[in-house]
Protein backbone atom coordinates (compact mmCIF):
# COMPACT_ATOMS: atom_id res chain seq x y z
CA UNK A 1 0.00 0.00 0.00
CA UNK A 2 1.43 3.36 -0.98
CA UNK A 3 1.72 6.23 1.45
CA UNK A 4 -1.05 8.17 -0.26
CA UNK A 5 -3.33 5.17 0.05
CA UNK A 6 -2.56 4.82 3.74
CA UNK A 7 -3.48 8.44 4.36
CA UNK A 8 -6.66 7.94 2.35
CA UNK A 9 -7.65 4.96 4.50
CA UNK A 10 -6.97 6.77 7.76
CA UNK A 11 -9.04 9.77 6.70
CA UNK A 12 -11.76 7.49 5.35
CA UNK A 13 -12.05 5.55 8.62
CA UNK A 14 -12.14 8.78 10.54
CA UNK A 15 -14.92 10.29 8.38
CA UNK A 16 -17.02 7.12 8.53
CA UNK A 17 -16.62 6.84 12.29
CA UNK A 18 -17.75 10.45 12.56
CA UNK A 19 -20.80 9.84 10.35
CA UNK A 20 -21.74 6.75 12.37
CA UNK A 21 -21.36 8.77 15.57
CA UNK A 22 -23.66 11.50 14.22
CA UNK A 23 -26.25 8.85 13.32
CA UNK A 24 -26.10 7.42 16.83
CA UNK A 25 -25.60 10.51 18.99
CA UNK A 26 -29.21 11.74 19.26
CA UNK A 27 -30.24 8.35 20.67
CA UNK A 28 -27.45 8.40 23.22
CA UNK A 29 -28.26 11.93 24.29
CA UNK A 30 -31.97 11.16 24.64
CA UNK A 31 -31.20 8.05 26.70
CA UNK A 32 -28.73 9.87 28.94
CA UNK A 33 -31.01 12.85 29.40
CA UNK A 34 -33.92 10.58 30.33
CA UNK A 35 -31.80 9.18 33.16
CA UNK A 36 -30.40 12.50 34.38
CA UNK A 37 -31.66 15.09 36.80
CA UNK A 38 -33.57 18.00 35.23
CA UNK A 39 -31.02 20.34 36.68
CA UNK A 40 -28.09 18.59 34.95
CA UNK A 41 -29.86 18.87 31.59
CA UNK A 42 -30.68 22.54 31.94
CA UNK A 43 -27.15 23.47 32.92
CA UNK A 44 -25.72 21.55 29.96
CA UNK A 45 -23.87 18.97 32.04
CA UNK A 46 -25.35 16.13 30.06
CA UNK A 47 -23.28 15.71 26.92
CA UNK A 48 -22.75 12.01 26.47
CA UNK A 49 -23.36 10.15 29.72
CA UNK A 50 -26.16 10.61 32.24
CA UNK A 51 -25.50 12.84 35.24
CA UNK A 52 -27.02 12.09 38.66
CA UNK A 53 -28.63 8.88 37.41
CA UNK A 54 -32.24 8.34 38.40
CA UNK A 55 -35.15 6.31 37.01
CA UNK A 56 -37.94 8.53 38.31
CA UNK A 57 -39.13 9.58 34.85
CA UNK A 58 -39.63 5.97 33.85
CA UNK A 59 -41.50 5.43 37.10
CA UNK A 60 -43.93 8.21 36.20
CA UNK A 61 -44.40 6.89 32.67
CA UNK A 62 -44.92 3.28 33.71
CA UNK A 63 -47.70 4.39 36.02
CA UNK A 64 -49.45 6.23 33.20
CA UNK A 65 -52.18 4.09 31.66
CA UNK A 66 -52.46 5.96 28.35
CA UNK A 67 -49.00 4.84 27.23
CA UNK A 68 -49.80 1.18 27.80
CA UNK A 69 -53.13 1.46 26.02
CA UNK A 70 -51.41 3.11 23.06
CA UNK A 71 -48.71 0.45 23.12
CA UNK A 72 -51.31 -2.30 23.01
CA UNK A 73 -53.10 -0.56 20.15
CA UNK A 74 -49.90 -0.23 18.15
CA UNK A 75 -49.12 -3.92 18.64
CA UNK A 76 -52.66 -4.80 17.55
CA UNK A 77 -52.52 -2.62 14.40
CA UNK A 78 -49.07 -3.92 13.53
CA UNK A 79 -49.75 -7.63 13.99
CA UNK A 80 -53.22 -7.82 12.48
CA UNK A 81 -52.43 -5.26 9.77
CA UNK A 82 -49.25 -7.02 8.70
CA UNK A 83 -50.99 -10.40 8.61
CA UNK A 84 -53.73 -9.08 6.34
CA UNK A 85 -51.19 -7.27 4.16
CA UNK A 86 -49.15 -10.42 3.73
CA UNK A 87 -52.24 -12.42 2.85
CA UNK A 88 -53.37 -10.01 0.11
CA UNK A 89 -49.85 -9.49 -1.19
CA UNK A 90 -49.19 -13.23 -1.48
CA UNK A 91 -52.54 -13.72 -3.26
CA UNK A 92 -51.82 -11.02 -5.81
CA UNK A 93 -48.11 -11.63 -6.26
CA UNK A 94 -48.52 -15.38 -6.71
CA UNK A 95 -51.31 -15.10 -9.28
CA UNK A 96 -49.52 -12.35 -11.19
CA UNK A 97 -46.27 -14.32 -11.27
CA UNK A 98 -47.78 -16.97 -13.57
CA UNK A 99 -47.17 -16.06 -17.23
CA UNK A 100 -50.02 -18.35 -18.33
CA UNK A 101 -52.64 -16.38 -16.41
CA UNK A 102 -55.00 -14.55 -18.75
CA UNK A 103 -55.46 -10.90 -17.90
CA UNK A 104 -52.16 -10.84 -16.04
CA UNK A 105 -50.77 -7.92 -18.04
CA UNK A 106 -53.78 -5.67 -17.64
CA UNK A 107 -54.04 -6.30 -13.89
CA UNK A 108 -50.30 -5.69 -13.44
CA UNK A 109 -50.67 -2.45 -15.41
CA UNK A 110 -53.45 -1.14 -13.18
CA UNK A 111 -51.53 -2.12 -10.04
CA UNK A 112 -48.38 -0.36 -11.26
CA UNK A 113 -50.29 2.85 -12.05
CA UNK A 114 -51.05 3.24 -8.35
CA UNK A 115 -47.32 3.61 -7.74
CA UNK A 116 -47.22 6.75 -9.86
CA UNK A 117 -50.61 8.29 -9.47
CA UNK A 118 -52.54 8.58 -6.27
CA UNK A 119 -55.95 10.15 -5.81
CA UNK A 120 -54.67 12.16 -2.84
CA UNK A 121 -55.64 12.52 0.77
CA UNK A 122 -59.07 14.16 0.37
CA UNK A 123 -60.62 11.65 -2.08
CA UNK A 124 -59.12 8.86 0.04
CA UNK A 125 -60.68 10.32 3.16
CA UNK A 126 -64.09 10.84 1.52
CA UNK A 127 -63.92 7.27 0.19
CA UNK A 128 -63.46 5.96 3.73
CA UNK A 129 -66.35 8.10 4.82
CA UNK A 130 -68.63 6.84 2.06
CA UNK A 131 -67.70 3.24 2.84
CA UNK A 132 -68.77 3.87 6.43
CA UNK A 133 -65.29 3.08 7.72
CA UNK A 134 -64.84 6.31 9.69
CA UNK A 135 -67.27 4.95 12.26
CA UNK A 136 -65.20 1.79 12.61
CA UNK A 137 -61.80 3.35 13.00
CA UNK A 138 -59.97 0.18 14.02
CA UNK A 139 -61.25 -1.71 10.99
CA UNK A 140 -60.43 1.29 8.81
CA UNK A 141 -56.80 1.35 9.96
CA UNK A 142 -56.46 -2.36 9.24
CA UNK A 143 -58.40 -2.65 5.98
CA UNK A 144 -57.71 0.61 4.17
CA UNK A 145 -53.94 0.05 4.21
CA UNK A 146 -53.94 -3.67 3.54
CA UNK A 147 -51.82 -3.68 0.43
CA UNK A 148 -49.09 -1.79 -1.34
CA UNK A 149 -48.20 -2.11 -5.02
CA UNK A 150 -44.46 -1.85 -4.42
CA UNK A 151 -44.42 -4.89 -2.14
CA UNK A 152 -46.62 -6.85 -4.54
CA UNK A 153 -44.15 -6.25 -7.35
CA UNK A 154 -41.27 -7.15 -5.04
CA UNK A 155 -42.79 -10.50 -4.10
CA UNK A 156 -44.00 -11.22 -7.62
CA UNK A 157 -40.43 -10.75 -8.88
CA UNK A 158 -39.30 -13.33 -6.38
CA UNK A 159 -42.04 -15.85 -7.23
CA UNK A 160 -41.05 -15.53 -10.90
CA UNK A 161 -37.56 -16.80 -10.10
CA UNK A 162 -38.94 -20.07 -8.73
CA UNK A 163 -38.49 -22.62 -11.55
CA UNK A 164 -41.83 -23.74 -12.98
CA UNK A 165 -40.57 -27.34 -12.97
CA UNK A 166 -41.15 -27.33 -9.22
CA UNK A 167 -44.82 -26.56 -9.76
CA UNK A 168 -45.12 -29.35 -12.33
CA UNK A 169 -43.33 -31.81 -10.07
CA UNK A 170 -45.64 -30.97 -7.17
CA UNK A 171 -48.64 -31.50 -9.41
CA UNK A 172 -47.28 -34.88 -10.56
CA UNK A 173 -47.06 -35.85 -6.92
CA UNK A 174 -50.75 -35.12 -6.64
CA UNK A 175 -50.58 -31.77 -4.86
CA UNK A 176 -53.53 -29.49 -5.59
CA UNK A 177 -53.14 -25.76 -6.32
CA UNK A 178 -53.40 -24.67 -2.71
CA UNK A 179 -50.86 -27.26 -1.59
CA UNK A 180 -48.45 -26.20 -4.34
CA UNK A 181 -48.59 -22.66 -3.02
CA UNK A 182 -48.37 -23.47 0.69
CA UNK A 183 -46.01 -26.45 0.55
CA UNK A 184 -43.71 -25.48 -2.31
CA UNK A 185 -43.72 -21.75 -2.97
CA UNK A 186 -44.15 -20.25 0.48
CA UNK A 187 -41.42 -22.34 2.19
CA UNK A 188 -39.06 -21.43 -0.65
CA UNK A 189 -39.75 -17.73 -0.25
CA UNK A 190 -39.39 -17.44 3.53
CA UNK A 191 -36.71 -14.77 3.28
CA UNK A 192 -38.67 -12.69 0.78
CA UNK A 193 -41.85 -13.04 2.83
CA UNK A 194 -39.92 -11.89 5.89
CA UNK A 195 -38.62 -8.89 3.97
CA UNK A 196 -42.03 -7.84 2.71
CA UNK A 197 -43.60 -8.57 6.10
CA UNK A 198 -41.04 -6.37 7.83
CA UNK A 199 -41.61 -3.56 5.33
CA UNK A 200 -45.29 -3.69 6.24
CA UNK A 201 -44.68 -4.07 9.97
CA UNK A 202 -42.37 -1.06 10.19
CA UNK A 203 -44.80 1.00 8.14
CA UNK A 204 -47.62 0.08 10.55
CA UNK A 205 -45.56 0.55 13.71
CA UNK A 206 -44.37 3.98 12.60
CA UNK A 207 -47.49 5.26 10.84
CA UNK A 208 -49.27 8.16 12.46
CA UNK A 209 -51.03 10.36 9.91
CA UNK A 210 -54.14 8.36 9.06
CA UNK A 211 -54.51 7.12 12.62
CA UNK A 212 -54.51 10.78 13.70
CA UNK A 213 -57.17 11.64 11.08
CA UNK A 214 -59.41 8.60 11.44
CA UNK A 215 -59.35 7.69 15.12
CA UNK A 216 -61.40 9.91 17.42
CA UNK A 217 -61.49 7.63 20.45
CA UNK A 218 -58.56 8.17 22.85
CA UNK A 219 -58.58 4.50 23.78
CA UNK A 220 -57.87 3.41 20.23
CA UNK A 221 -54.96 5.66 19.29
CA UNK A 222 -51.58 4.08 18.56
CA UNK A 223 -48.35 5.08 20.24
CA UNK A 224 -47.23 7.48 17.49
CA UNK A 225 -50.37 9.57 17.76
CA UNK A 226 -50.00 9.72 21.53
CA UNK A 227 -46.37 10.78 21.14
CA UNK A 228 -47.36 13.51 18.74
CA UNK A 229 -49.89 14.80 21.24
CA UNK A 230 -47.49 14.66 24.16
CA UNK A 231 -44.35 16.01 22.59
CA UNK A 232 -44.88 17.73 19.26
CA UNK A 233 -48.03 19.49 20.40
CA UNK A 234 -46.35 19.95 23.75
CA UNK A 235 -49.36 19.03 25.81
CA UNK A 236 -47.20 16.99 28.11
CA UNK A 237 -46.90 19.66 30.78
CA UNK A 238 -50.60 19.62 31.55
CA UNK A 239 -50.99 15.86 31.16
CA UNK A 240 -48.33 15.14 33.66
CA UNK A 241 -48.83 18.11 35.91
CA UNK A 242 -50.31 15.95 38.63
CA UNK A 243 -47.58 13.36 38.40
CA UNK A 244 -44.87 15.96 38.43
CA UNK A 245 -46.01 17.49 41.68
CA UNK A 246 -43.17 19.98 41.42
CA UNK A 247 -40.68 17.42 42.56
CA UNK A 248 -37.16 18.06 41.38
CA UNK A 249 -36.29 14.57 40.18
CA UNK A 250 -38.38 14.72 37.01
CA UNK A 251 -39.33 17.50 34.64
CA UNK A 252 -41.20 17.88 31.36
CA UNK A 253 -37.88 17.39 29.60
CA UNK A 254 -36.85 14.18 31.32
CA UNK A 255 -40.37 12.82 30.83
CA UNK A 256 -40.22 13.68 27.13
CA UNK A 257 -36.90 11.94 26.72
CA UNK A 258 -38.05 8.89 28.67
CA UNK A 259 -41.23 8.66 26.58
CA UNK A 260 -39.16 8.72 23.39
CA UNK A 261 -36.95 5.92 24.69
CA UNK A 262 -39.92 3.79 25.75
CA UNK A 263 -41.45 4.18 22.31
CA UNK A 264 -38.37 3.23 20.30
CA UNK A 265 -37.04 0.40 22.45
CA UNK A 266 -38.85 -2.36 20.50
CA UNK A 267 -37.41 -1.07 17.22
CA UNK A 268 -33.90 -0.79 18.70
CA UNK A 269 -34.12 -4.33 20.07
CA UNK A 270 -35.18 -6.04 16.87
CA UNK A 271 -33.27 -3.79 14.48
CA UNK A 272 -29.91 -5.63 14.49
CA UNK A 273 -31.67 -8.88 13.57
CA UNK A 274 -33.95 -7.55 10.87
CA UNK A 275 -31.52 -5.18 9.19
CA UNK A 276 -30.31 -7.70 6.63
CA UNK A 277 -33.84 -8.28 5.36
CA UNK A 278 -34.26 -4.63 4.51
CA UNK A 279 -30.96 -4.57 2.68
CA UNK A 280 -32.21 -7.56 0.72
CA UNK A 281 -35.51 -5.84 -0.05
CA UNK A 282 -33.78 -2.75 -1.38
CA UNK A 283 -31.58 -4.96 -3.54
CA UNK A 284 -34.50 -6.83 -5.10
CA UNK A 285 -36.21 -3.50 -5.69
CA UNK A 286 -33.06 -2.07 -7.26
CA UNK A 287 -32.55 -5.02 -9.60
CA UNK A 288 -36.13 -4.61 -10.76
CA UNK A 289 -35.47 -0.86 -10.98
Amino acid sequence: MSRGEKIFHIINYFILALIAAIALYPFIYVLSASLSSPDAILTGKVVLLPKNIRFDSYGVIFKDKSIWIAYGNTIFYTVVGTALCLFLTVCGAYALSKPRLRGRKIVTFFITITLWFDAGIIPFYLNLRDLGLLKHSRAAIIIAFACNAFNVILLRTFFETVPSELEEAARMDGANDLKTLTKVYLPLSKASLATVGLFYAIEKWNGYFWAMIIIRDENKIPLQVLLKKLIVENSMASDYAAALNFNASTSTETLTYATIIVSIIPILLVYPYIQKFFVKGVMIGAVKG
Binding site: I19, L88, S263
Partner: protein, 313 residues
Protein backbone atom coordinates in the same frame (compact mmCIF):
# COMPACT_ATOMS: atom_id res chain seq x y z
CA UNK B 1 -64.76 -16.20 -44.84
CA UNK B 2 -67.46 -15.14 -42.40
CA UNK B 3 -67.84 -18.70 -41.22
CA UNK B 4 -64.14 -18.94 -40.60
CA UNK B 5 -63.95 -15.85 -38.38
CA UNK B 6 -66.94 -17.11 -36.48
CA UNK B 7 -65.32 -20.43 -35.95
CA UNK B 8 -62.12 -18.68 -34.89
CA UNK B 9 -64.04 -16.61 -32.45
CA UNK B 10 -65.72 -19.65 -31.04
CA UNK B 11 -62.49 -21.56 -30.62
CA UNK B 12 -60.88 -18.50 -29.02
CA UNK B 13 -63.78 -18.30 -26.62
CA UNK B 14 -63.68 -21.97 -25.76
CA UNK B 15 -59.94 -21.71 -25.24
CA UNK B 16 -60.53 -18.78 -22.89
CA UNK B 17 -63.11 -20.72 -20.91
CA UNK B 18 -60.70 -23.64 -20.74
CA UNK B 19 -57.85 -21.43 -19.51
CA UNK B 20 -59.97 -19.74 -16.90
CA UNK B 21 -61.20 -23.11 -15.66
CA UNK B 22 -57.64 -24.40 -15.49
CA UNK B 23 -56.50 -21.37 -13.49
CA UNK B 24 -59.60 -20.96 -11.32
CA UNK B 25 -57.45 -21.16 -8.20
CA UNK B 26 -55.29 -18.26 -9.37
CA UNK B 27 -58.39 -16.18 -10.14
CA UNK B 28 -59.73 -17.02 -6.72
CA UNK B 29 -56.52 -15.62 -5.22
CA UNK B 30 -56.65 -12.58 -7.45
CA UNK B 31 -60.23 -11.77 -6.47
CA UNK B 32 -59.74 -10.28 -2.96
CA UNK B 33 -56.61 -8.55 -4.18
CA UNK B 34 -58.33 -6.87 -7.12
CA UNK B 35 -61.36 -5.96 -5.01
CA UNK B 36 -59.07 -4.25 -2.50
CA UNK B 37 -57.39 -2.19 -5.23
CA UNK B 38 -60.76 -1.20 -6.69
CA UNK B 39 -62.13 -0.10 -3.33
CA UNK B 40 -59.08 1.64 -1.89
CA UNK B 41 -57.11 2.85 -4.92
CA UNK B 42 -59.55 3.29 -7.79
CA UNK B 43 -62.69 4.31 -5.93
CA UNK B 44 -60.86 7.38 -4.55
CA UNK B 45 -59.88 8.21 -8.14
CA UNK B 46 -63.55 8.24 -9.05
CA UNK B 47 -63.96 10.73 -6.21
CA UNK B 48 -61.50 13.10 -7.89
CA UNK B 49 -64.45 14.51 -9.85
CA UNK B 50 -65.31 16.76 -6.91
CA UNK B 51 -62.35 18.89 -8.01
CA UNK B 52 -64.74 20.11 -10.73
CA UNK B 53 -67.84 20.25 -8.54
CA UNK B 54 -69.43 22.31 -5.83
CA UNK B 55 -69.27 19.40 -3.43
CA UNK B 56 -71.81 19.06 -0.70
CA UNK B 57 -71.52 16.31 1.88
CA UNK B 58 -75.30 16.12 1.92
CA UNK B 59 -75.72 15.50 -1.81
CA UNK B 60 -72.75 13.18 -2.12
CA UNK B 61 -70.05 12.95 -4.77
CA UNK B 62 -72.17 11.98 -7.76
CA UNK B 63 -75.09 14.36 -7.20
CA UNK B 64 -73.11 17.53 -6.46
CA UNK B 65 -73.25 20.23 -9.13
CA UNK B 66 -70.55 20.68 -11.74
CA UNK B 67 -68.78 24.02 -11.68
CA UNK B 68 -65.96 23.40 -14.13
CA UNK B 69 -62.53 24.84 -13.36
CA UNK B 70 -63.63 27.26 -10.62
CA UNK B 71 -61.50 25.69 -7.87
CA UNK B 72 -58.41 25.60 -10.06
CA UNK B 73 -58.92 29.27 -10.97
CA UNK B 74 -59.34 30.17 -7.33
CA UNK B 75 -56.12 28.37 -6.37
CA UNK B 76 -54.06 29.86 -9.19
CA UNK B 77 -55.37 33.33 -8.37
CA UNK B 78 -54.90 33.07 -4.61
CA UNK B 79 -52.01 34.44 -2.61
CA UNK B 80 -51.21 30.89 -1.46
CA UNK B 81 -50.38 29.59 -4.91
CA UNK B 82 -47.05 31.41 -5.21
CA UNK B 83 -46.03 30.54 -1.68
CA UNK B 84 -46.76 26.82 -1.71
CA UNK B 85 -45.47 26.35 -5.24
CA UNK B 86 -42.19 28.10 -4.44
CA UNK B 87 -41.76 26.24 -1.14
CA UNK B 88 -42.43 22.86 -2.72
CA UNK B 89 -39.79 23.44 -5.36
CA UNK B 90 -37.29 25.02 -2.96
CA UNK B 91 -37.51 22.15 -0.48
CA UNK B 92 -37.08 19.66 -3.34
CA UNK B 93 -34.07 21.57 -4.66
CA UNK B 94 -32.46 21.54 -1.22
CA UNK B 95 -33.05 17.82 -1.17
CA UNK B 96 -31.58 17.25 -4.65
CA UNK B 97 -28.50 19.35 -3.89
CA UNK B 98 -27.80 17.94 -0.42
CA UNK B 99 -29.67 14.69 0.25
CA UNK B 100 -29.09 13.22 -3.22
CA UNK B 101 -25.26 13.23 -3.43
CA UNK B 102 -24.74 12.30 0.24
CA UNK B 103 -25.61 8.57 -0.02
CA UNK B 104 -23.47 8.22 -3.15
CA UNK B 105 -20.45 9.61 -1.31
CA UNK B 106 -21.21 7.48 1.74
CA UNK B 107 -21.45 4.35 -0.41
CA UNK B 108 -18.10 5.06 -2.07
CA UNK B 109 -16.44 5.63 1.30
CA UNK B 110 -17.98 2.49 2.82
CA UNK B 111 -16.88 0.46 -0.20
CA UNK B 112 -13.24 1.42 0.42
CA UNK B 113 -13.29 -0.05 3.94
CA UNK B 114 -11.35 -3.31 4.18
CA UNK B 115 -12.36 -4.41 7.70
CA UNK B 116 -15.63 -6.26 7.37
CA UNK B 117 -16.61 -5.62 11.00
CA UNK B 118 -16.09 -1.87 10.75
CA UNK B 119 -17.99 -1.80 7.47
CA UNK B 120 -20.95 -3.66 8.99
CA UNK B 121 -20.93 -1.45 12.08
CA UNK B 122 -20.98 1.77 10.03
CA UNK B 123 -23.82 0.44 7.88
CA UNK B 124 -25.85 -0.75 10.85
CA UNK B 125 -25.53 2.59 12.60
CA UNK B 126 -26.19 4.79 9.57
CA UNK B 127 -29.23 2.74 8.49
CA UNK B 128 -30.81 2.94 11.93
CA UNK B 129 -32.44 6.40 11.74
CA UNK B 130 -34.49 5.31 8.73
CA UNK B 131 -36.45 2.90 10.91
CA UNK B 132 -37.35 5.42 13.56
CA UNK B 133 -40.80 6.91 13.09
CA UNK B 134 -41.05 10.45 11.82
CA UNK B 135 -42.99 11.39 14.95
CA UNK B 136 -40.08 10.32 17.14
CA UNK B 137 -37.56 12.08 14.91
CA UNK B 138 -39.62 15.26 14.95
CA UNK B 139 -40.00 14.92 18.72
CA UNK B 140 -36.27 14.63 19.23
CA UNK B 141 -35.68 17.57 16.91
CA UNK B 142 -38.31 19.73 18.60
CA UNK B 143 -36.88 18.99 22.05
CA UNK B 144 -33.28 19.54 20.93
CA UNK B 145 -34.18 22.91 19.44
CA UNK B 146 -36.42 24.04 22.27
CA UNK B 147 -35.43 27.55 23.40
CA UNK B 148 -35.59 26.88 27.13
CA UNK B 149 -34.33 23.35 27.61
CA UNK B 150 -33.07 22.07 24.25
CA UNK B 151 -29.46 20.96 24.10
CA UNK B 152 -28.70 23.11 21.07
CA UNK B 153 -29.69 26.30 22.85
CA UNK B 154 -28.09 25.25 26.11
CA UNK B 155 -24.80 24.90 24.27
CA UNK B 156 -25.30 28.11 22.30
CA UNK B 157 -25.90 29.82 25.62
CA UNK B 158 -22.78 28.27 27.17
CA UNK B 159 -20.70 29.46 24.24
CA UNK B 160 -22.00 32.96 24.82
CA UNK B 161 -24.45 33.20 21.92
CA UNK B 162 -28.07 34.27 22.15
CA UNK B 163 -30.68 31.53 22.36
CA UNK B 164 -32.64 31.08 19.15
CA UNK B 165 -36.15 29.70 18.88
CA UNK B 166 -35.27 27.88 15.65
CA UNK B 167 -38.66 26.42 14.80
CA UNK B 168 -40.38 29.80 14.78
CA UNK B 169 -37.89 31.39 12.39
CA UNK B 170 -38.84 31.01 8.72
CA UNK B 171 -35.23 31.46 7.58
CA UNK B 172 -34.13 28.26 9.34
CA UNK B 173 -36.96 25.94 8.37
CA UNK B 174 -35.69 24.54 5.07
CA UNK B 175 -32.22 23.98 6.48
CA UNK B 176 -33.55 22.19 9.55
CA UNK B 177 -35.93 20.09 7.48
CA UNK B 178 -33.21 19.13 4.99
CA UNK B 179 -30.80 18.34 7.81
CA UNK B 180 -33.36 16.07 9.42
CA UNK B 181 -33.89 14.15 6.18
CA UNK B 182 -30.16 13.94 5.65
CA UNK B 183 -29.72 12.39 9.08
CA UNK B 184 -32.68 10.06 8.67
CA UNK B 185 -32.18 8.67 5.18
CA UNK B 186 -28.57 8.97 3.98
CA UNK B 187 -27.54 5.56 5.34
CA UNK B 188 -30.55 3.72 4.01
CA UNK B 189 -30.38 5.37 0.57
CA UNK B 190 -26.73 4.34 0.27
CA UNK B 191 -27.64 0.62 0.18
CA UNK B 192 -28.66 0.85 -3.47
CA UNK B 193 -25.30 2.35 -4.41
CA UNK B 194 -23.31 -0.10 -2.27
CA UNK B 195 -25.08 -2.90 -4.13
CA UNK B 196 -24.29 -1.27 -7.47
CA UNK B 197 -20.60 -0.85 -6.56
CA UNK B 198 -20.43 -4.51 -5.55
CA UNK B 199 -21.46 -5.35 -9.11
CA UNK B 200 -18.45 -3.63 -10.68
CA UNK B 201 -15.87 -5.98 -12.19
CA UNK B 202 -12.98 -6.17 -9.69
CA UNK B 203 -10.38 -6.87 -12.38
CA UNK B 204 -10.82 -3.29 -13.57
CA UNK B 205 -9.38 -2.04 -10.27
CA UNK B 206 -6.48 -4.49 -10.53
CA UNK B 207 -5.69 -3.28 -14.02
CA UNK B 208 -5.93 0.36 -12.95
CA UNK B 209 -3.57 -0.25 -10.02
CA UNK B 210 -1.02 -1.87 -12.33
CA UNK B 211 -1.29 1.23 -14.53
CA UNK B 212 -0.49 3.30 -11.45
CA UNK B 213 -3.91 4.85 -10.85
CA UNK B 214 -4.30 6.33 -7.36
CA UNK B 215 -7.43 6.07 -5.17
CA UNK B 216 -8.95 9.27 -6.49
CA UNK B 217 -8.48 8.15 -10.08
CA UNK B 218 -9.93 4.73 -9.30
CA UNK B 219 -12.99 6.34 -7.75
CA UNK B 220 -13.61 8.91 -10.48
CA UNK B 221 -12.73 6.69 -13.45
CA UNK B 222 -14.05 3.27 -12.38
CA UNK B 223 -16.40 3.43 -9.41
CA UNK B 224 -18.49 6.45 -10.45
CA UNK B 225 -18.86 5.46 -14.13
CA UNK B 226 -19.70 1.94 -12.92
CA UNK B 227 -22.65 3.11 -10.85
CA UNK B 228 -23.73 5.88 -13.22
CA UNK B 229 -26.84 4.03 -14.46
CA UNK B 230 -28.01 3.65 -10.85
CA UNK B 231 -27.27 7.30 -10.12
CA UNK B 232 -29.26 8.35 -13.18
CA UNK B 233 -32.26 6.18 -12.29
CA UNK B 234 -32.27 7.60 -8.77
CA UNK B 235 -31.93 11.14 -10.08
CA UNK B 236 -34.85 10.63 -12.47
CA UNK B 237 -37.01 9.48 -9.60
CA UNK B 238 -35.87 12.42 -7.53
CA UNK B 239 -36.60 14.95 -10.29
CA UNK B 240 -39.89 13.26 -11.03
CA UNK B 241 -40.78 13.75 -7.38
CA UNK B 242 -39.92 17.47 -7.24
CA UNK B 243 -43.60 18.29 -6.85
CA UNK B 244 -44.29 15.69 -4.20
CA UNK B 245 -43.00 16.92 -0.89
CA UNK B 246 -44.76 14.85 1.77
CA UNK B 247 -46.92 16.48 4.39
CA UNK B 248 -46.26 13.90 7.11
CA UNK B 249 -42.95 15.31 8.26
CA UNK B 250 -43.71 18.97 7.62
CA UNK B 251 -46.94 19.16 9.58
CA UNK B 252 -45.01 17.95 12.62
CA UNK B 253 -42.48 20.76 12.40
CA UNK B 254 -44.08 23.83 10.89
CA UNK B 255 -46.26 26.42 12.56
CA UNK B 256 -48.02 29.55 11.35
CA UNK B 257 -44.88 31.58 12.01
CA UNK B 258 -42.91 29.50 9.50
CA UNK B 259 -45.62 28.90 6.84
CA UNK B 260 -43.86 31.47 4.70
CA UNK B 261 -41.03 29.01 3.94
CA UNK B 262 -42.49 25.73 5.16
CA UNK B 263 -45.97 25.48 3.70
CA UNK B 264 -45.90 23.19 0.62
CA UNK B 265 -48.71 22.11 -1.70
CA UNK B 266 -49.48 18.89 0.17
CA UNK B 267 -49.63 20.59 3.57
CA UNK B 268 -51.91 23.23 2.09
CA UNK B 269 -54.16 20.47 0.73
CA UNK B 270 -54.22 18.89 4.19
CA UNK B 271 -55.11 22.15 5.92
CA UNK B 272 -57.73 23.41 3.51
CA UNK B 273 -59.28 19.96 3.09
CA UNK B 274 -59.17 18.14 6.37
CA UNK B 275 -58.91 21.07 8.80
CA UNK B 276 -61.07 23.68 7.03
CA UNK B 277 -63.38 21.14 5.39
CA UNK B 278 -63.09 22.57 1.87
CA UNK B 279 -63.01 19.12 0.31
CA UNK B 280 -63.68 20.13 -3.29
CA UNK B 281 -61.13 22.95 -3.39
CA UNK B 282 -58.43 20.86 -1.65
CA UNK B 283 -59.05 17.99 -4.06
CA UNK B 284 -58.55 20.38 -6.98
CA UNK B 285 -55.24 21.62 -5.52
CA UNK B 286 -54.12 18.04 -4.92
CA UNK B 287 -55.11 17.00 -8.44
CA UNK B 288 -53.24 19.96 -9.92
CA UNK B 289 -50.17 18.82 -7.98
CA UNK B 290 -50.63 15.16 -8.94
CA UNK B 291 -50.92 15.90 -12.65
CA UNK B 292 -47.79 18.06 -12.74
CA UNK B 293 -45.95 15.39 -10.78
CA UNK B 294 -47.04 12.70 -13.22
CA UNK B 295 -45.96 14.80 -16.21
CA UNK B 296 -42.58 15.37 -14.55
CA UNK B 297 -41.98 11.68 -13.90
CA UNK B 298 -42.96 10.70 -17.44
CA UNK B 299 -40.80 13.40 -19.05
CA UNK B 300 -37.79 12.70 -16.85
CA UNK B 301 -38.10 9.04 -17.78
CA UNK B 302 -38.43 9.74 -21.50
CA UNK B 303 -35.50 12.12 -21.45
CA UNK B 304 -33.29 9.59 -19.71
CA UNK B 305 -34.35 6.82 -22.07
CA UNK B 306 -33.32 8.95 -25.01
CA UNK B 307 -30.07 10.23 -23.53
CA UNK B 308 -28.74 7.27 -21.58
CA UNK B 309 -30.91 4.31 -22.50
CA UNK B 310 -31.72 3.78 -18.83
CA UNK B 311 -35.30 4.17 -17.72
CA UNK B 312 -37.81 3.08 -15.16
CA UNK B 313 -40.17 1.47 -17.64
Amino acid sequence: MKQKTQRNKRSWLSQLVKDVKRDKFLYLLLLPFVIWFIFFKYRPMWGLQIAFKDFSLFKGIAASDWIGLEHFKEFLGSQYFGRVFRNTIMISLYSILICFPAPIILAILINEVKHLRFKKAVQTLTNLPHFISIVVVASILTTFLSPSSGMVNIFLDKLGFDKIYFLTKPEYFRGIFTGMNLWKDTGYSSIVYITAIAGIDQTMYEAAKIDGANKWQQITRITIPGILPTIIIMLIMKIGNIMTVGYEAIILLYQPATYETADVISTYVYRSGLLDGRYDYATAVGLFNGIIALILVVSANTLSKRMTETSLW
